[in-house]
């Protein structure tokens, strides 16, 4: 792989998040560099999804600083995160099931639409030109993810693996600079996983998109990530290249369990 990994774009410092008495994240710090594939792994309940939710502003951590593109802040907010070029997919698919694949992906362009509600409603003037432009972009994504054959199919009729791909398509339609993927390969068979890996790497390579992903499949994580951060019970127990992490005793203990 020859894409150059750049400077730190996102730095999380001493993040702590709790819900009442439950400590979801405790004093976690790690960073994400431009153009890299950064994985977050850990057993169930380790705080991985919470971490993603902190990054794109769904949760507000009680402590810590988030520095995104050089600008430190106490927390992100979702709209701000999206406007800054952070897009995401969800662990349990969050698409509009009754809408076609094309329409679902079009919603990913929403933030970039300038026309007013009224203009869009009567599809006139700049709304029209804008839609043609957005449609072109969406078609590029459709081509990129090879889902031309389901363009007009309602999402609800698609098999799970394809729905996941549509979700990725919607995230990509926003032309993000950073993509957060929450278990993009959960519940997939081997072939679907391979396809998804290839798409994730292609996105990273073709568009230079920085990718932060949560994944359970160790083979996948070790294969496609540049660096891995390991969480367990809301604490960071490892951080480094796949090889470093694989060799770490704390990580092995967390995954295999340890006799107390």
């Amino acid at each position: 792989m020859t894409r150059p990994i750049g400077d730190v774009v996102l730095a999380l410092e001493s993040i702590s998040l709790s819900f009442g008495g439950v400590k979801a994240l405790t004093d976690i710090s790690f960073d994400v560099r431009e153009h890299e594939v950064r994985a977050i792994i850990g057993p169930n309940g380790a705080g991985k999804s919470s971490m993603l939710n902190v990054i794109n502003g769904v949760y507000r951590p009680q402590q810590g600083t988030i520095t995104f593109r050089g600008k430190p802040r106490r927390d992100m907010n979702t709209h701000d995160a999206a406007a800054q070029g952070i897009a995401r997919t969800f662990q349990n698919i969050a698409l509009f099931r009754g809408m076609s694949v094309l329409d679902n992906i079009m919603t990913g362009r929403n933030l970039r639409m300038k026309a007013t509600f009224l203009e869009q409603a009567i599809w006139w003037g700049r709304a029209r030109n804008e839609e043609l432009e957005h449609r072109r972009k969406v078609e590029e994504v459709i081509d990129f993810l090879e889902i031309q054959h389901i363009r007009r199919t309602p999402v609800g009729r698609l098999p799970y693996g394809l729905q996941k791909r549509v979700e990725l398509a919607r995230a990509l339609a926003a032309e993000p600079s950073m993509l957060l993927l929450d278990e993009p390969m959960a519940g997939m068979n081997v072939e679907e996983k391979q396809d998804m890996c290839r798409f994730v790497l292609d996105v990273n390579e073709q568009y230079g998109t920085t990718i932060v992903l949560i994944e359970h499949d160790m083979g996948v994580v070790m294969d496609i990530s540049d660096r891995v951060v390991v969480l367990d019970y809301g604490r960071k127990i490892g951080d480094g290249t796949p090889d470093e992490v694989r060799g770490s005793q704390a990580v092995i203990d967390a995954y295999l369990g340890v006799a107390h």
């Binding site: 990129f144 090879e146 031309q148 292609d202």
Partner: protein
């Protein structure tokens, strides 16, 4: 100056002059159909050819072409021919290991491929192919950081520079071409042994294209969908030779998965598909009809009955009663028209099927709803052009009369022999094979056994060398039996055994789509092919089919002895990746017989079950094991009956 139209590049320039603004090629890209006119195609080909020349491609060299049907790949064939080179289209779904043989056999130095997938395969094959030096790709996606491969755009850029420096080069090269030059090398599918490169001249393919075009009155205003493998002779004839002869429009689908939608959007006037495509289309329609409301179901059933009764006669212009005509006209408005539209066949004037036998019900169905589906017969060595069915003389069990310019006769053993301008020049580097298949009188031995019926139409029974005898001395034509089984929608593949044995036994592959749907409707849960195939209910379903086939065979004289006594449903689908089928999906009976020897023994030894483990190759090259305990069942056979008077 009198214009010679005797090579493909000259035909291209001819169209660019005569109909410069007529659409020549369309491709659906980013959801929109893009069009190139003949003048534009000529310009594209010119820059490609000049690019290749600047990169050292010379007269007589071979250019490998690998990928789905993409305009630029068709243009590359023209570019190679313009320089006096020979395009060698290869099957795009073959794994790298299979590429190696053909690449070496053809001595490939230059290759033009579609995308990253094919580039990866070529790079994988490269260490074993000493000659391969230049790889060009169409779709740049994922290839940005590859070294040693060149994009199409870059190649054309080089070409345009070269063209500016040598403005007369292209026309001179085209002028050097001769009709007797080899224009393309298509590899045989290798049903038996290694594939052989079939060298066809411009003259041969143009003769075949011209003969077929005149036979069916094709014109420049026709339009076809190009979706069959470019390495297949059928596509080379329809999407290339006839395209360039007639000057019509070829349309390249967006991807392999969108063919159905693209077919509807384009509405071709001329259509070619192997029987399985027609079968899949019909299966999809039938599955959707079962989900339709009562009224629609009733309408569909009623009017397909009407069509079955009189549709084909109306299509052939035969006399039909006034009441039936009225019913048919009503059916056309309510059912057949909309159905043709859904199938993308509203505008079809002529449709052909070839490559395998087509089931009688299937064939009649399409004709009955007003689609002029016909059969043709030919092989790679004859430019897919030997017999065609004339309008008004279409029958499901024959392949038609000798095409214009073709001489046809049967050898003493029933083998079909043909002679004419469409014959191959030779097998590449295989004078032994050439001498074996073309006799002193110039007849090509097709290897097919056939008979000519009272109407002068040829009927193909089987491969001549496959026709054997049962131990009792009766004729055994395995292909004929397999086709009979495959005509049932639930059966996808069948392999019959019996040569030299007392009785006939068979392996069956169920059709997962059709049987799966059947199972779902009965609330029968299954996890995959292997599981579904082993269900006793499925066995009963297949037994019913086998017994129906037996009942038919009982009426067919000598073939009555070939009734299938025992059968089993294989635990895996026969697959070209496991060498069980050829790339054109024909069963390699010998190989299958050896691989599953233990199953054949079990069939003939009367066992009720047999355990088997089989290694399978996945698409990505990994291997795995499939194991199963297969049941073996007996099928009812029937006493031979005299054939009912036809």
């Amino acid at each position: 100056m009198e214009e010679r139209q005797d090579t493909f590049p000259r035909l291209l320039l001819h169209h660019a002059r005569v109909r410069p603004n007529h659409p020549a090629t369309r491709e659906k890209d980013l959801g929109i159909w893009q069009t190139w006119t003949w003048a534009e195609v000529a310009a594209e080909v010119r820059s490609l050819a000049c690019g290749l020349a600047a990169q050292g491609f010379r007269r007589g060299m071979h250019l490998a072409i690998i990928g789905d049907n993409r305009p630029r790949l068709y243009w590359s064939m023209l570019a190679a021919e313009a320089l006096g080179g020979v395009p060698v289209p290869m099957y795009q779904d073959a794994p790298a290991a299979e590429f190696v043989y053909v690449l070496n056999d053809a001595g490939i130095e230059y290759a033009v491929v579609e995308d990253q997938e094919q580039v990866d395969k070529l790079l994988e094959a490269k260490p074993q192919v000493a000659t391969l030096a230049h790889i060009y790709y169409d779709d740049p996606r994922g290839l940005r950081n590859y070294e040693g491969v060149t994009s199409f755009a870059r190649l054309q850029e080089i070409g345009r520079e070269f063209d500016r420096a040598h403005p007369s080069f292209f026309d001179e090269e085209v002028a050097k071409g001769k009709s007797s030059d080899v224009s393309g090398m298509l590899y045989t599918s290798g049903t038996t042994g290694k594939p052989k490169g079939v060298c066809q001249t411009h003259g041969a393919f143009i003769a075949a294209a011209k003969g077929g075009a005149e036979f069916d009155r094709l014109t420049a205003s026709d339009s076809i969908l190009s979706y069959l493998p470019m390495a297949w002779v059928g596509d080379h004839l329809f999407s290339y030779a006839q395209w360039l002869w007639c000057g019509f429009t070829i349309n390249c689908p967006e991807s392999g998965d969108t063919v159905m939608t693209d077919l509807r959007e384009i509405g071709p006037t001329y259509y070619f598909a192997p029987p399985r495509v027609f079968e899949n289309l019909l299966t999809q329609v039938m599955i959707r009809m079962e989900d339709a409301g009562r009224v629609k179901q009733w309408l569909f059933r009623h009017f397909t009955d009407v069509a079955r009764r009189c549709g084909a006669q109306i299509l052939d212009g035969k006399p039909v009663g006034a009441l039936d005509r009225l019913q048919y006209a009503l059916g056309d408005v309510l059912v057949y028209g909309p159905l043709r539209n859904v199938l993308g066949m509203s505008r079809i004037r002529v449709a052909y099927t070839a490559g395998a036998a087509i089931g009688p019900d299937l064939f009649r169905f399409y004709r009955s709803i007003g689609i002029n589906l016909k059969q043709l017969y030919g092989q790679t060595e004859t430019c897919a052009y030997v017999c065609l069915q004339p309008d008004g003389g279409v029958r499901f069990d024959t392949v038609g009369v000798a095409a214009p310019g073709v001489e046809l006769k049967l050898a003493d053993n029933g083998e079909v022999l043909v002679r004419g301008p469409m014959l191959l020049k030779e097998y590449y580097n295989r004078p032994d094979a050439t001498a074996e298949s073309i006799d002193a009188a110039g007849y090509f031995h097709t290897g097919d056994a056939g008979v000519i019926d009272a109407g002068g139409q040829l009927k193909i029974i089987d491969r001549a060398k496959d026709v054997g005898k049962l131990a009792g001395g009766s004729m055994f034509a395995p292909n004929y039996l397999e086709n009979k089984l495959k005509f049932f929608p639930h059966i996808k593949e069948a392999v019959a055994f019996g040569a030299g044995r007392d009785e006939v036994c068979a392996f069956v592959n169920i059709d997962v789509g059709s049987v799966g749907n059947w199972a779902e409707r009965r609330g029968l849960a299954y996890s995959g092919y292997t599981d579904l195939a082993a269900k006793p209910e499925v066995y009963a379903l297949i037994r019913e089919c086998v017994e129906k086939a037996n009942a038919e065979l009982a009426t067919e004289g000598d073939l009555a002895a070939s009734q299938i006594r025992r059968f089993l449903i294989l635990h895996k689908e026969l697959d070209p990746d496991d060498d069980e089928l050829t790339r054109t999906r024909k069963v390699r009976r010998g190989f299958v017989g050896e691989k599953y020897g233990v199953l054949i023994d079990a069939l003939y030894s009367g066992k009720a079950r047999q355990h088997i483990e089989t290694e399978v190759k996945f698409e990505d090259g990994r291997r795995g094991m499939v194991a199963a305990d297969l049941a073996i069942e007996d099928a009812k056979t029937f006493a031979p009956q005299a054939k009912a008077a036809a």
